[in-house]
Every structure is written in structure tokens, then in C-alpha cells.
Symmetry: C2
Subunit: 404 residues, 2 copies
Amino acid sequence: MSAADLTPATRTSEDVRVANTALVLRTLRADGPSSRAVLAASTGLTKGTVGTIVGRLSDLGAVHEDAPGVAQPGPATRGRPSRPVTLEGSPLVGLGIEVNVDYRAAVALDLAGATQLFTEERGAVGGDRVDVTEVDAFVRRCRRRLEADGHRLLGLCLAVPGLVERDRRVVRSAPNLGWHDLDLAAAVTGGVPAGTPVRVDNDANCAARAEAWVGVASGAEHVLYVTGTVGVGGGVVSDGDVVHGLRGFAGEIGHMRLGDSDERCGCGRRGCWESQVGLLAMLRRVGMPHEPDVDPLLVAEQVARRAAVDADVRAGLALLADDLARGCAVLANALDPGTIVLGGYFATLAPWLLPTVRDRLARDVFAGGCAVRTSTLGLRAAATGAAAHVLSDVFDARVPLPAP
Amino acid sequence: MSAADLTPATRTSEDVRVANTALVLRTLRADGPSSRAVLAASTGLTKGTVGTIVGRLSDLGAVHEDAPGVAQPGPATRGRPSRPVTLEGSPLVGLGIEVNVDYRAAVALDLAGATQLFTEERGAVGGDRVDVTEVDAFVRRCRRRLEADGHRLLGLCLAVPGLVERDRRVVRSAPNLGWHDLDLAAAVTGGVPAGTPVRVDNDANCAARAEAWVGVASGAEHVLYVTGTVGVGGGVVSDGDVVHGLRGFAGEIGHMRLGDSDERCGCGRRGCWESQVGLLAMLRRVGMPHEPDVDPLLVAEQVARRAAVDADVRAGLALLADDLARGCAVLANALDPGTIVLGGYFATLAPWLLPTVRDRLARDVFAGGCAVRTSTLGLRAAATGAAAHVLSDVFDARVPLPAP
DNA sequence: TGACTTAGTTCAAGGGTTGCACCAAACTGG
DNA sequence: CCAGTTTGGTGCAACCCTTGAACTAAGTCA
């Protein structure tokens, strides 16, 4: 029923193969190396089916079998020894690319979750608006590097700071990039092998997915991601999928009006959460000046250094933490995420924020609290999440593996 | 990946049939009566497949064909005339049952969305804790009535005021009913034909689904439902599915701490939204006494009558509306639902609440506002949503149609 | 009446899984 | 050392579902 379906609505027997192959892949990821017999038992498929599926995966290089004759450690087992199959994803990778005003990053994740590529480029391309052909060229460079290393593309996902249509292809509005109603997916499709799925998603949503996939909340099905930069953004992962909302605005938590403050926000409204916990509000609280054009994370590191020696700075951060916790608690009550991941400058200042946030969440969350973690993905969060988007499409059988 | 999967993980060719049959059903529901040829074109299936699927649906009584020879109105068409197929769901119904302390209700919805049964019983059964065998007996009575009328059960869903495990079968905690760790699904399975799917869900979540299925937000994929009784509850529908959260607490919006109020709440915390917009807070604002044991909706009707003639009451409701809107705006920013449905006593007092709520949402929601509707389902909302749960399982191919 | 057009059915072919028979490769016990 | 046992893995006929093309059905138009 989702408008973002990648596969056509009709089902054929090939979809059965795709779904069962994905099931085997999920099982291998969750349980680690397993023999065909164990796979058959834990998936519910017959031995014969597992045999053919593993055979195809092996042809693709997605799995490999341990050499025969290798004695297993542990107690002696009866019967013919098993030959475990291991998820060896490196030949197949999902490529995630973050596009920002003066920053582009690419991450390739293989099926086993390992990073096979990380590259970044700084500097603006194009004037008022980011040049799409430069993005296309970046995609082509990444593809060439991957193919030179023997990798094969499962799919491509682009993370952009803006609003994406429900078809996950068209950027409706990305003011920072100067893009409006731009079919970004079509613009870069030429740079990848024909048939490769190409998707576009919001950068904060991608970062949320990254945390739930390979980050500090790895494996969690329900995650709330809250990131602080100049603005405050977020992403909601529910049942393993990102919540987009009707128009793709879900996660615009920076403009929730929470307290009784009347502080003016950059968006023109008053009392937005962002005007209390955004970068500018933080600097005001700790009594430090705002220098535009300096990376928010560098600014936060300066503040962290000051906090280590200045009690007034720490007091300012404690007040900030209280407002941060207030918003997190509200969202935790509405969504019961189980885990909240703090990213952006919140992660940099975590030592001075976490205690207060945890205390207040334990007190104010109806479900009985909520784990709070700090992101370690840093700048590569969005690109990593975009790559994870590709992988989740494969593991959840929304996209088939390529033919051998 | 969801823990609530109803179907086994392995896929077979039968799943293909189930999925394509569901696709045909969805198309018939969305587009109305259509010929096989039109169905083939709009679903993407071949004519042959549509023929066999429609044949099976016809055997089940789920669809019927118009009598041949009935001339179609409109311009003369060339070629063999089509024989449109109509969704005639009445033989197949989903049964939803709400269980509350001194109230039980049942609703049966057929595939076409028509209500084929509504019945309610008042009065407590059991002492401190609601007697499960009485619930089972109620299920059996409903089943007998349905079968006597020639209906067949597609599935059963029970809505309870409490927390439900992720398996959608076990009630973890329903304090009002006196239930803890009760396998409610198992307790009533004996009352329905063998093989009938049985599920349990939270009542507010069910009500939210009812609004998105047959209520004022019918057809919406993204809905936020907010209901006011003594407490304040809610439900989030995203991409057509209810968001449950990690522990099933999603939607416990009554205990969000929004403003800077320190009002004590019944839950022991301070500043909860419920303590500002719950029934007791409303009565306080309009200067009317709280009489326990009177149905909140009756109380609200009294208030409505007073509001019509008393400006002070209207002023109190205006203040309430402001706080109601504040919470709705926060949630709309986080989830971008597109539509908010107000239920419970909020619906009763809608004439005095809606203008303020709409104004404030238009101002405070980043996505550019949010439609606000008032529920018309009243007491039968939860049971209707439970029945809709069964139907959505069929239309989304999570549950197969029975064999003829 | 006959050509044309559109609706619907029939049927061989192909892809996928199942379940069972069968082969393979170890250990156990005498 | 060799048969017996146990467990891992493959091969194959049967079954289910969709596809696509050929074919039948039932109207309109000239």
C-alpha cells in the first residue's frame, strides 16, 4: 500500500525465490555461519530449496563455504560433518552518497555490513544551486573505484538535506542545494549499470537508519534519532523502517513548540525546540560567540574543551540538557522507540548532556525509560544510512539480487 | 522483520496467489466494479490469471457479476460488452470485539466495508478482574449470530484497554481489566472455526485504524488519532499500519510533558498533557463538578449544552483548545500525519474546540498545516477498528482467504 | 450479412518449492 | 578392519501459480 513500493504490485514465482533468498541472507546475518542443514531447520525451508538458494548465492560470491576436511573445534559430533556457509558479502555492495552544499561523501557497505569504501569531497560545486552533473560525476567516480576493486553494485541511494517525494526519486525541495522538483534519481541513473535500483531519501532519515543498521543501535527495530547542528533534525525508525509521514516531513522535530518560551526561531515561528537546543541557542547558553561558516562539529569541540575547565559552561550545558531531554521524552512517549540516538553536536557534548537526559527520560517516559546512546558515525552517518537503505531493500526482499 | 508476522517466513507459490488475490480485492475496493479486462489492465496481471482469481472469489461469494445482457448506460461501446465484477463482501466478515470493564461491543465488517453486525453489552462480568470465559462466551454468541445470517469469519481481533505483546496475542498488562500476562488469543480460539486467525490489539490503536479505514479519515495512509476520556490516548497510523513501538506503548500521548505546567497527573508525574486536557482538567476549566461513574461522553454532552448558553464555559473550552492544539502540533511536526482525528469527548465538544485547534495547527506545523476531523464512530470505534484490522490483513495479503 | 472490436477462456510452458529417495562422509563398536 | 548408525547434502517427480498465445464469445458498424 505504500507509495514507495519498488517492486510491481503483481507477484510471480520469482518473488518467491527473492523472498526465500532474502530469508536465508537474514538468517545468515543473524545467526552467523550455518550449514545448509541448520539453515533448513531455522528457516523452515526444505533441504533441497536451501541447497539451490545457497548454490546461487555462492555463484554470486555472496557466501563461501569453508574448505572441506577442516575439523571443527569442540566436542566430537556424529554423522557427516557440516560445511558451514558464511556470509561473505564483499563482492556485493550497496552504495550510499550524501549530497550537501559543500560536502559530498560516499559509503559502500557489503552484505556482511562491512564498509568497503569511504570517500569524501569538500568544496561547493556550482553557484547558487548545486550542479547535478557534478553529483553524477561523483557517482561515476565511486562506481569506477568499486568496480576496480571487484565490487558489484546492489543499488544506489542518495541522501539529501531536503524533502523527497513519496516515490523516493524526486527532490521536492532542498533549499540549501537550490533544488526544487528535481528528479535526482533519473539524473544519476546513467552512472550506474542498467537495472541498478536508484533511490533518494532525506539525510536525517538516512542517518537514523544508519544508527539502526550499523551504528550504536545496530539491530534495533525501533529507534529515535535526534541530531543537533545549526538546526535540529531527526528520524524515526519503527519496525525497522523509516517513518516518512504523508509529505515526507516526519522527523522535522526541530520545529516542535514544546515549552512556554517565545523565543523567535529562524523559521519565523516562536518557541521552536530548535531555538532552545540548536547550535546558536547552545552557544548563547555557554556564553560563546557564533562564528558562521565554521563547521558545527568543530564549534562543539571548542565548547567541549571549555566545558572541561569552566563550570559556567557546564552549567549552561546542563540547562540545555534539560530542554533536550524534554523533547526526547515527549517523542519517546508518543513513539516508544526503546532507544534514542543523539547525533551531531549532541554527540560531541555527550559527556555533559547524557546524565541529565537519562535522568529525565527515566522520570518522564511512561513506558519506563528509554536507552540513550550517542552516535559514533559522525559525518559519514547519512551516507552510511543511504548504503544501509540499499541493503535493507535486499534483506527485506524489496529488491532482487542481480543475476550471476 | 516485524515480530508480529502472521505468516511463516518461508514463501511458496500459494503466497503468490494470496498476494495477487489481495491485489485484485484492493483494486476492486479502490476503483469500484470493474470487468476482468479492466482488472487485468489496472493490476498488471494477465487476463487468464484475473479470470481464475475472479472465479475463486466468485465461488467464495466475495464478488458477484452483474447479470449478462444488462445494457450499460452511456455511449455505445464496440466489441463484446464487459461484465463488471462487484465486491460483494457480505458473506465474508472480519469480527472485531472491544473488551472493557463494564462494556463489550462487537462489530463485523464485510469486505466492502459495510457493517454487518453491531451489538453491545453493558455491565461488569467478574469481580476485580474481567472473567475471560465471559469474553469467550461473547465471542461464541457473536459467531452464532453471524453464521445464522450466512456470514463466514475471516478472522477475529480483540481490542483491550492495555498493553499487548508484540506477538499480538498476549495481554501483558490491562490494569482496568485486572489482566496480566494473559494469552487472550488462546482463550477465545475455541470459539471460532479452526484456523481462523485471532489477534489482540490496544483499543486506542484499533480506534485509530477504524478512522483510517471506515471513519472520517477513510483511505488515509497517515493518521494521528487523539481521544479524550478521563485520560488522553492516541494512535498513530503510518503508511496504513499502526505504529506500536518497541513495547507497545506508542500512542501513550497523554503523558507527554509539554508545557511548563507542574500540575500533578493521575500517573504520579507532573505536567502531563492529560492533566491539562483530560476530562477532569476540562471540567475544572469550565467550572463544573466531576461526577465519577458517569460516562465521559455523557458528561461532555452536558458541557456542550452549557457551552451553548454560557460564555464562561466557552472561554474555558477555548483555553483547553489551545492546550489540545499545542500537543497536536508537536505530534504533527514529528510525524507529518496529514490528518488528525479527534475522538472521545473532544469530538463531542468539537464545535468549541475545532476553530482554535485548526488555527494553531496552521500556524505551528512546519509541513504547512494538517487537516483536523472529528470522529463519528463514537463508542464503536475500537470494535470497528479491530474488525478493520482483520480486513487489512486480508487486503494486504497477510492472511489468505478461506478455501471455498 | 460480414468485417471488426473487445471480453473472456483454455492450455502448454516455465519458474519455484516440496517431499522423498538416495548418495556421502563422518563416528561407534566389536 | 568392517559393518552399523547418524547426520549432511543432492536429484527428481509432482504440484502450484503465472504467463502468453491461440481461441471462442458477443456485441457494433457499414
